[in-house]
């Protein structure tokens, strides 16, 4: 059923629409040439931006990544913070580092990954707005989201992003309860969080919520077998 959904989505989707399954490719050698571009896309860690002592240190991806042609590719920008107050110089530098890749023709979409503390939300919101304003409009901009941001916390409501991906793994002690609630039909109160979900292959995943794009993290380099097992697992969750 999941495969059918993937393939249907793949066959019908326009060039700008991400497939229903996106593989997160993090900072390690990844050979994803086995991926079927019609059904599966790749969200790769493109840069890590360290907000440290009032400046930004941008570390590009240094590990090999191989992807088949015509794959839908999302460039992910991970932001790490020293939790000090951030300034406009950092905002401009971070935006510039992100926008430097936004024009790449191979990149179809952008994603920001930042576990912003409450005090950092204004900075993050401003950064998101600047990136959205200056990046190609046909390239969607998304963010990852802590599950708590999607549950009763409304701070993301006005962000100019296409989707917020709730991270349904490494959630702490109440994670199993959240997954149980989702399995019973509960949903996130934040609408931005209702289009996708983030899972890890080494943790129990949420059920396949209808129409959700799945972003999957694998703790080791991806293999064809790992992707097959993932799809099988997602299919079984989608079964009645």
């Amino acid at each position: 059923m999941f495969i059918l959904m993937l393939m249907t989505a793949g066959a019908a989707c326009a060039a700008a629409e991400a497939p229903r399954l996106m593989l997160w490719a993090w900072e390690r050698p990844e050979d994803l040439r086995f991926v079927n571009p019609r059904t599966t896309g790749v969200a790769y860690l493109a840069k890590t931006l360290y907000l440290k002592e009032g400046r930004v240190i941008a570390r590009p991806r240094l590990q090999p990544l191989r992807i088949p042609p015509n794959t839908y590719v999302t460039a992910v920008f991970r932001i790490e913070s020293d939790a000090s107050a951030h300034n406009t110089v950092q905002s401009a530098a971070a935006a510039a580092a992100i926008l430097a890749l936004a024009e790449k023709k191979e990149v179809a979409a952008l994603q920001l990954d930042f576990d912003a503390a409450v005090s950092e939300r204004p900075f993050y919101a401003a950064l998101i707005s600047e990136v959205r304003r200056k990046s190609p409009p046909q390239k969607p901009l998304s963010v990852t989201a802590l599950a708590s941001w999607c549950l009763g916390d409304r701070w993301m409501s006005d962000l100019p992003v296409a989707e917020a991906v709730p991270m349904l793994f490494r959630m702490g002690p109440d994670g199993p309860q959240i997954l149980r609630n989702l399995a019973r039909g509960a949903d996130f109160s934040e609408t931005l969080c209702r289009g996708s979900m983030g899972i890890s292959t080494d943790e129990p995943a949420a059920p396949m919520l209808p129409g959700r794009r799945v972003y999957a993290f694998h703790p080791k380099p991806w293999t064809a077998d790992a992707v097959r097992r993932l799809i099988t697992a997602l299919e079984s969750r989608n079964s009645p």
Binding site: W26, D31, Y44, A46, T48, Y50, K52, R55, I57, R59, P60, R61, L62, Q63, P64, L65, R66, I67, V73, A96, A100, L101, E106, D113, D115, A117, V118, T144, L146, A147, S148, L151, G152, M167, F169, R170, M171, G172, P173, D174, G175, Q177, I178, R180, N181, L182, A186, F188, S189, F217, P219
Partner: protein, 711 residues
């Protein structure tokens, strides 16, 4: 009925858990009691031979140092400095700020007035999705130094100097640029040295643009130009073009082109007196033949007073990463490293065999660290370990496993005697991690409550936010050790699962415990007493609890004022609803950051459903105490998460005491707890019941107004 909006609740990471950089934050400070990836800080102490208790999970660069100390060849000061420099570089989780060397160049060019600002310089070049450091630190430093010299010779206002800068800007545009930017040759009227500089700049531009054959041709021409100030370095740079071509020429994803790298190797071997060329040769050899390179480095690594230790160790460990751990190793050092790190049964047999043949200390360490207590060789290994003097760098490692084997064979008295002697070492002699490992062993052998409490207390090796690799910024600021005295997982597990309430109360009052820990335990025991409906204990403990939560004075008074135990219990529950930091367990590591009377914004409030996974013992307890503890633990667990227990108590009390003026507020607080605390499948039922009771019986109260939903 009002529309109910169902919220899903999340308690963020409440307990001292290690942080995974691959996971999403937020990140909280943690206490690390024993490192598994690397030795204690400062690493200089390890380099000097204070090895603590060696772990097979340490990186190989540390284990190499341990091997050399155990083999009797220590390190002089220069070598120790090289070692700490290597580790600091490898452990630096924040990347080198690549803009700093660029700034040196920008500062130098700003000495020429009126020169236009260059495009921003990024030293990394992107190939498809991956980058590599294209323009190195030396490139910018060399450009800055050369420009300063040319300004001094010709003056900042000289138009040829201006052209020099513009040409260099073009060179650096190739660092990240996708399209080549090659300067024009200088006019014949330009001074000779600047014309020669231009030739060099053009060659460099081709190099950074990735046209390695053209760059090589031009560097070779420069090397043949007797008048060029760059003729000395040009041959080396020509070889560098081969190395680049062999590594990234076909793309970062492609394997190295060993044929091209072997050409580079042959040329570099003809430059034995050029340090830069020799470093490049080592770089090439690691990539062409890591196994051979690792083996050929071993003699230098085992030689004392080495001047190349930093690079040799770096290359050696990088080469080892490319080798199979299962393949036979051609030298003793490499064999020992892979064997010590292995957890296979064969690695024990191999270690034992090597030790029996030569009685070498590294192999004794490897063998005893892997020996099961049931092994027939255990007694011989222990006897050999006991002969090693206290000054030996292997002493603590051998002692730890000797104790482990004593314990495994039931020889607890011998284990205790040895541990008591070990723990008498000063903190300077015994690294924190080693001390904590010995304390864990000693705690498992506790003869009574006082010993349990004494050995449960640990000083962590570090406290702070772990950015990965068991690193905190605080650890890097050694020698200021953390002052906290805390309990680790084993101590918390014993306190939370194995001790009955009556013994816990004694523990909470024991002067054996550090004062801060005593306070933490006091709070946990008080909550347990309330949950277990042991109001005799809970009321008795109020006098000790009051100073810990002074802002709750009126609520404490309410508890004490009730003669009926169930009324006192409700008063206690009401107090707990107002103090979200209260919980029935002792946490390992750090306590909750937010004060007990305040709601935590990451939902670390009250407690979550408790999953006991005890793997600890308290042999001094009698059967009756163990049975009582088991029953009590089960009762605590069955109560579920904090909000469930609290709401259930309030609902029960409210049912029979609607005239209690605290009831409306208590019902409101119960519903609030189900929103901001942990939940399970039953929580919504409690939330709804409390909500309905409130709105049915107190519809116009301020508390009903403050409670528009249940969760």
């Amino acid at each position: 009925m009002k529309k109910v909006i169902l919220f899903l609740l999340l308690a963020m990471i409440p307990f001292a858990a290690p942080v995974n950089l691959d996971a999403c934050g937020p990140f909280f400070p943690v206490a690390i009691f024993a490192y598994s990836m690397h030795p204690d800080f400062p690493l200089a102490s390890f380099a000097a031979g204070n090895l603590g208790i060696l772990q097979p999970t340490y990186a190989r660069s540390y284990l190499y140092v341990a091997y050399r100390h155990m083999a009797g060849t220590g390190f002089d000061e220069v070598e120790q400095s090289d070692l700490t420099r290597l580790w600091e570089e490898r452990l630096n989780l924040m990347p080198v700020d690549s803009t700093e060397p660029v700034q040196e160049w920008l500062d130098a060019r700003s000495a020429v007035p009126g020169i236009p600002e260059p495009e921003s310089i990024d030293s990394y070049k992107l190939m498809d999705y991956v980058s590599f450091p294209n323009c190195t630190i030396d490139a910018f430093a060399s450009a800055a130094a050369t420009l300063k010299d040319r300004i001094q010779k010709f003056g900042a206002a000289n138009p040829d100097v201006r052209e020099w800068i513009l040409a260099q800007d073009q060179v650096f545009a190739n660092c990240a640029g996708e399209e080549p930017s090659i300067p024009e040759a200088a006019a014949a009227t330009v001074p000779a040295v600047l014309r020669a500089d231009r030739q060099y700049q053009i060659a460099a531009a081709y190099f950074y643009s990735g046209n390695y054959p053209e760059a090589r041709k031009r560097f070779q021409e420069i090397s043949a130009d007797a008048a060029s100030p760059w003729k000395g370095i040009a041959p080396y740079l020509a070889v560098r073009t081969l190395v680049r071509e062999g590594t990234v020429g076909a793309g970062i994803e492609e394997p190295p082109n060993t044929e091209v790298l072997r050409q580079a190797e042959q040329l570099l071997q003809k430059m034995p007196d050029d340090p830069a060329a020799q470093r490049l040769l080592a770089y090439v050899r690691v990539r062409i033949d890591p196994a051979a390179r690792a083996h050929e480095l071993v003699p230098a690594l085992l030689k004392s007073e080495s001047e190349t230790l930093y690079q040799d160790l770096w290359d050696y460990t990088v080469s080892l990463d490319k080798l199979s751990a299962n393949a036979p190793q051609p030298d003793e050092l490499t064999e020992w490293l892979f064997t010590f790190q292995s957890d296979s049964p064969e690695s024990f047999d191999a270690s034992l065999s090597k030790w029996k043949k030569g009685a070498a200390l590294p192999w004794l360490v490897s063998a005893i660290s892997k020996a099961p207590a049931s092994s027939p060789a255990a007694a011989d290994l222990i006897a050999a370990a006991e002969k090693i003097p206290g000054e030996s760098p292997a002493y603590f490692t051998l002692a730890y496993h000797t104790v482990r084997l004593f314990m495994g064979s039931g020889n607890n008295d011998a284990a205790r005697r040895k541990l008591d002697a070990l723990l008498s070492h000063s903190k300077a002699d015994l690294p924190a991690t080693a001390r904590n490992r010995f304390l864990a062993q000693r705690m498992a052998l506790a003869l009574n409550l006082d010993e349990l409490l004494q050995y449960a207390q640990r000083t962590p090796a570090t406290v702070g936010i772990d950015w990965g690799l068991e690193m905190t910024e605080e650890a890097q600021n050694y020698p200021v050790p953390p002052a906290a005295i805390l309990v680790d997982n084993d101590g918390a597990a014993v306190l939370n699962t194995l001790l009955p309430l009556d013994i816990l109360e004694k523990a909470a009052r024991s002067n054996v415990l550090d004062a801060a820990l005593r306070k933490r335990l006091m709070k946990a025991v008080w909550v347990r007493a309330v949950m277990l409906n042991r109001m005799d204990v809970a009321v008795r403990m109020v006098a000790d609890m009051q100073p810990l939560l002074p802002d709750a004075a009126p609520l404490w008074k309410a508890v004490l004022s009730e003669s009926d135990p169930q009324a006192a219990r409700f008063a206690a529950v009401f107090l707990m609803l107002n103090n979200p930091g209260l919980e029935p367990i002792m946490r390992s590591g750090l306590e909750r950051e937010t004060p007990a009377g305040e709601m935590d914004i990451y939902r670390d409030n009250w407690w979550c459903a408790i999953e006991w996974t005890p793997d600890v013992q308290a042999p001094f307890l009698d059967a009756a105490a163990r049975d009582t503890a088991t029953a009590e633990s089960a009762s605590i667990k069955d109560a579920g998460p904090g909000p469930n227990f609290l709401a259930a108590q309030v609902i029960q009390w409210a049912g029979a005491h609607l005239d209690d003026p605290r009831v409306p507020e208590a019902l409101h607080l119960s519903v609030r707890a189900t929103r901001y605390g942990c939940t399970d499948n039953a929580t919504t039922r409690y939330s709804k019941e409390a909500f309905q009771l409130l709105h049915k019986n107190f519809p116009r109260s301020e508390w009903a107004k403050k409670t528009p939903y249940y969760y």
